[in-house]
């Protein structure tokens, strides 16, 4: 027998589903589409864009950004170790050394393969 205390969770799932679908679908049905050049601008009110945004960035930007995201967030793994540094002691240190070694090999690999060079 399901716990009645959780029934509202189910109800809420249904309500959320319906509301979110309505928000997504209803405007598409009822609105009239009368596009004007201003409306199609990326920012409808504001400074007119100086150049087309459809131009492409060099793929280098993406590469740097992606590598940054990975190494940045992996660095967050140090945080739990840092707050319990004294309790974890030598074992914690060994664990983190292992972690850094694995991460370091990945880092060295990216470096060797030219992932960090701008050219």
């Amino acid at each position: 027998m399901p716990d009645p205390a959780w029934t509202y969770v189910l109800i809420f799932f249904v309500v959320a589903l319906v509301v979110a679908s309505l928000i997504a679908i209803v405007p598409g049905i009822f609105t009239k589409k009368r596009p004007t050049p201003e409306k199609l601008e990326p920012y409808e009110c504001g400074v007119p864009p100086t150049s087309a945004m459809l131009g492409r960035f060099p793929v280098r930007f993406y590469l740097v950004a992606m590598l940054f995201v990975v190494f940045d967030v992996e660095a967050a793994s140090f945080y739990p170790w840092a707050v319990r540094l004294r309790d974890l002691g030598g074992f914690g240190l060994l664990e983190m050394v292992a972690f850094i070694v694995v991460l370091g090999i990945g880092y060295a690999y990216v470096w060797k393969k030219g992932g960090f060079s701008w050219r």
Binding site: V9, F12, F13, A16, A20, A24, V59, V70, A76
Partner: protein, 102 residues
């Protein structure tokens, strides 16, 4: 300070999750679809943290922490693949990226 009840967290996370699912289904741009997926993952995180707080148990927080790190790796890989596809084509609408049928 009054406690925010568990229910509210769960309701918020359910809404986020469902917005994520619907966003994934309605959008056709891979980047937007990835954003919808991130929303679903983070809805899970919110539920985990709320439960962990409720049970005074660390494992929920550990799970959420791991989800965040994995999400970063996943985002990097997914964006790399999207860039790979973009470079070859003018647009990246998932309906157009299809040479295989059946």
């Amino acid at each position: 300070m009054p406690q925010v009840p568990l229910n509210l967290y769960l309701e918020l996370s359910a809404v986020l999750f469902i917005i994520g699912v619907i966003g994934f289904l309605l959008r056709r741009n891979p980047i937007t679809m990835l954003m919808a997926i991130e929303l679903m993952w983070n809805a899970g995180n919110l539920a985990f943290i709320a439960f962990a707080r409720n049970f005074i148990d660390m494992s929920g927080q550990v799970f959420a922490f791991l989800v965040i790190t994995v999400a970063a790796a996943e985002a990097a890989i997914a964006l790399a693949i999207v860039v790979m596809v973009f470079r070859r084509r003018e647009n990246a609408d998932v309906d157009d990226i299809s040479v295989m049928r059946g």
